[in-house]
Symmetry: C2
Subunit: 452 residues, 2 copies
């Protein structure tokens, strides 16, 4: 028979078993942390009517989308989790309670040009709080706490949540009479780190006809650095000139004020006036999360406050604040940087029961008892040489092997080998189980991420 070459499409992540176990742990931390903050899990279809998904239309997204017909239906695969959320909230408005807090971890699809570390199918992990007509700024203050706890629970230590406020930016540009040029100016300013202030000034003046004095004002504003208190202090000089700016400054004060109460250490949080995010969507606090040792990675968790979640579907104003983690990309980077911890059991089982007799009744009963006690157990049933059986446990990294021979069966005991320590002991299964549980708890005590 002619064979088809088995292959996985490029840009589609498919992990080997031990890596997948790490990925599952990663996702479990996200699920548990998001749940701790009172977000409810949601699951929406991957396929939606193209008209619904593309309600906003235009832009880079539409080119990348997977869109196809089935029967008479014009369908598309979701390209983010925000549009499906907007649909869901607009659809179920009458049933939901607001503020509506949901998390969703799911695959999204973008037919980008495949390149290393860029995926066409990838997991996003989003949280959003949606208000009905209004949403208090305290919700914006709470978001850094979720980010902090999530990455801390994953085992990351060195990360900084950079925060800005779009009202401050828009207010400042309005003060300068640069509202219409704000987009161009911000895109230019975004290159500051790369090309330096001189070049930024040149582009502003030459390409966008910004007056030299204004360009200097922009550079002075964007150059405000230092501790959070210092940046807030420096922003005071602009107060009283623009209502929007003043409102944004108040919001930024509120966000920073509650950080401590929400458990975010000062050194993990940075007021950063260079953060802008999506120009036409966010309207208040915006977030980016940076690894200071790996600035080249860019933000690993971003989001912000928006005023109209579902304007394409409903007249109701549904303001919200949310963040998103690009899970697949982050996981790929962590792997590449060697930052995935190799502690923790990644084998399919904690115990391999190896029968040393032809009849398997006692071995099956032992496996059953172990499982009843919550120990992940495999019974090795293949007729292989002893060396092959123990080699199987070794190759998979199964931490404990139990042997059951005639002697053990007669004595009502089992022999257990700790594969890492090499130690072996014979004892009743009941006595072994608590020892296994202690040993496993130790082996699995670490976090998903380890920093070098």
């Amino acid at each position: 028979m002619e064979k088809i070459r088995p292959r996985t499409l490029s840009g589609f992540m498919e992990l080997l078993p031990a890596r997948q176990v790490q990925m599952e742990r990663f996702m479990q931390v996200l699920r548990e942390t998001y749940a701790l903050y009172g977000f409810t899990p949601l699951d929406t279809p991957i396929i939606e009517a193209a008209e619904v998904l593309l309600a906003k239309g235009g832009g880079e997204t539409e080119k990348q989308i997977y869109r196809f017909e089935k029967g008479d239906s014009d369908l598309a695969l979701r390209f983010d989790l925000t549009v499906p959320l907007a649909k869901y909230v607009a659809m179920n408005y009458g049933t939901l309670s607001f503020p509506f807090r949901r998390f969703q971890i799911g695959k999204v699809y973008r037919g980008e040009r495949a390149q290393r570390g860029r995926f066409r199918e990838f997991y996003q992990a989003d949280i959003d709080v949606i208000g009905d007509g209004a949403l208090d700024v305290v919700n914006e203050a709470e978001i850094p706490a979720v980010i902090y706890r999530t990455f801390t629970a994953l085992g990351l230590k060195k990360f900084v949540i950079h925060v800005n406020n779009r009202k401050i930016l828009n207010g400042f540009y309005a003060m300068q009479g640069l509202t219409e040029k704000a987009g161009d100016v911000m895109r230019t300013v975004d290159k500051l780190e790369k090309i330096g202030p001189e070049k930024v000034r040149e582009i502003l003046v030459d390409d966008f006809a910004v007056a030299p004095a204004q360009a200097d004002a922009v550079l002075a504003f964007i150059g405000i650095r230092g501790s959070n208190a210092r940046v807030l202090e420096a922003l005071e000089q602009y107060r009283g000139q623009n209502e929007l700016f003043d409102k944004g400054l108040e919001e930024l004060h509120t966000v920073t004020r509650y950080l401590g109460a929400f458990g975010v250490p000062e050194d993990h949080f940075s007021v950063d006036l260079t953060i802008a995010r999506g120009l036409d969507y966010y309207t208040g606090t915006v977030y980016e999360t940076i690894l200071p040792d790996h600035p080249e990675i860019g933000s690993i968790c971003s989001g912000g406050r928006y005023d109209n979640l579902a304007e394409y579907y409903t007249d109701r104003q549904l303001p919200g604040v949310g963040i998103s983690i690009g899970v697949s990309r982050l996981f790929f980077i962590l792997e590449e940087q060697g930052m995935l911890s190799d502690e923790g059991v990644t084998a399919p089982a904690d115990v391999l029961v190896i029968p040393m007799t032809d009849r398997l009744d006692e071995a099956a009963a032992a496996a059953t008892a172990l499982r009843k006690a919550g120990v992940r157990t495999q019974l090795y049933a293949e007729k292989k040489k002893f060396k092959a059986k123990i080699g199987y446990a070794d190759k998979l990294g199964i931490p404990y092997v139990i042997f059951l021979g005639e002697d053990e069966i007669a004595a009502g005991m089992v022999t257990c080998k700790d594969m890492a320590a090499g130690a072996q002991q014979t004892l009743p299964l009941d006595a072994l189980i608590p020892l296994l549980k202690t040993g496993l708890a130790q082996k699995n005590a670490g976090t998903v991420i380890c920093e070098k």
Copy 2:
């Protein structure tokens, strides 16, 4: 602005939040149980090259498949989890250890005609054990244990795992010289319950030219009923006439022999000669799981032994045994039958912290402490009337509400209301936390499924 009507495609399941929480619990039980039996989690792409997915080709499946082009690529959405597994194992053959035990819970796609309880996007939850060249029959004996434990952990009590062996069927039909007609005969016999033995006999003789004596033999064989011991006993009369039959009978003996050791009670297991499953795939033990009070539902968990997992991709023989649960359909049926337990917290949070002062520092700190202790907590930050705040907790079913007024703050206490009991107490947060944990453990002690 012209609005797009927000909608979800028909045949696509999208649950409201409280239901989704039940679904998450359902899936968590599957994940945990599968893991207990030494299966490793796998995640493969939803999109594959159409050539790879359709390697087997033909049949009903190909018509139902979602297939489309993107750029130069001919793509398709997976319609089950078995074909991706075959691809994965063939692709990674050199890296994997065999027996390879994996579980996968994921969405699959079939563009069926939409009808009530039939989904175009639905979750399957599969386990498979794959051998390299050979796979011991004991693996087939262990599968009923996984099924038993899974449904028991979900809270189902009345279910029976029906088991047959394809070698027994094929051997029996060979004895009768009916090998070539076996497909037609089995499809006819499958209607036994519906149309009765007289009618089956008539169809066999009239439509398929089965000799009357053979038709009687088929009906006698298929009519073997009773306890497992009795059915096995009755099968002895056919022994010695066909090698395949004898091998199948031995396998069936092995499977039933180890049931007890694997922890499956006799009354949850039934040797059932009417079970056939997919005619061209399974080669040994086959399984169906039936709810005796709801025979109309059909099998809720099926599978069996096969000899060639990946024949379209590789010459290597990869025998296996596996089962699949159609999660979305089962969940839908359980909901419809009122069998989803309404015990257990389905709210996004266990505690709603309601600040009674303008400043929120203490309320935020209380929420932070609760979360640190592992209690799912929401801080209610909206400026609403007290009645609206408490109504929010009530509507969502949040079990506990904590009030923080000036008095509590001054005294270093919190006031906590148990929403179900109506009782209210004022105490230090540290003293409250263990009480909350005990209360929540009680509320969440139940299972996902409850039988009426």
